[in-house]
């Protein structure tokens, strides 16, 4: 039964063997997982941007993930609630994106977050069990 939640960085590491966190991601992946639906767009943009993955390849990598990942979306109201709570929680700048992804993890009932960007998740989900791919390479 899937119980872990993968953020965008972890999904990229899993699908690109040239990434320095790929081996760690392969070691942790147990066949299926949850992820935020917004991570699909971030995956494509990051892969075809700085990572230099050809666009058609990036689409194939995403389609391959569709077989293993259950994508979780936030409703308009859920997203609005997270943004509204950001000032009180001390969230400013790009950490908001991780707060929105973390909310998807909560919605899926996941307590294990797999990421190559652990710092933000420790802030937005302090009680989660963070699997830090950067510490396992």
């Amino acid at each position: 039964m899937k119980s872990d939640f993968w953020d965008t960085s972890a999904l990229l590491a899993l699908q690109c063997s040239g990434d320095e966190f790929h081996a760690a991601a392969e070691a942790v992946f147990d066949g299926d997982c949850f992820a935020a639906r917004r991570s699909r767009a971030e995956f494509y943009c990051s892969a075809t941007g700085r990572m230099g993955v050809p666009p058609m390849v990036a689409v194939q990598l995403l389609e391959s993930l569709d077989e293993f990942v259950e994508w979780i979306s936030l409703s308009d109201a859920e997203e609005a609630r997270i943004i509204k709570s950001a000032p009180r929680r001390g969230l400013q700048g790009r950490i908001l994106f991780d707060a929105l992804i973390a909310e998807c993890a909560m919605k899926a009932g996941c307590k294990i977050i797999v990421t190559a960007n652990p710092t933000h998740f420790r802030h937005v989900l302090p009680h989660a069990d963070i699997v830090d791919l950067t510490a396992q390479k």
Binding site: T8, S9, A10, L12, A13, L14, Q15, C16, S17, G18, D19, E20, F21, E26, F29, G31, E42, C45, S46, A47, G49, R50, M51, G52, V53, V57, Q60, L61, E63, S64, L65, E67, F68, R94, F97, A116, N117, T134
Partner: protein, 81 residues
């Protein structure tokens, strides 16, 4: 490393040896330039790579540009938004 430069009289962009060295660029290395509003990113071309099946998933075997990984690629994307 960050430097200030300017287009020359032929509208070419000079890139100093120090800057090339700091980026890890080698002589005649293929580069890719990406234009965005107000900036141009010049980066090493990744290797072509190929798609392979691994544990039922499709995985890309291409090398990433020097200094790029999944974590800093996502952070850079979010900084650009």
């Amino acid at each position: 490393m960050s430097v200030t430069t300017a287009l020359d009289k032929f509208n070419r962009l000079p890139v100093s040896r120090a800057l090339r060295t700091a980026a890890g660029f080698k002589q005649k290395q293929p580069l890719r330039a990406i234009a965005m509003p107000g900036k141009i990113i010049i980066e090493a071309m990744p290797s072509s790579g190929r798609l392979v099946k691994r544990k039922g998933r499709v995985v890309w075997t291409g090398e990433l540009p020097h200094g790029v990984n999944s974590a800093n690629a996502v952070n850079a994307l979010r900084d650009e938004i």
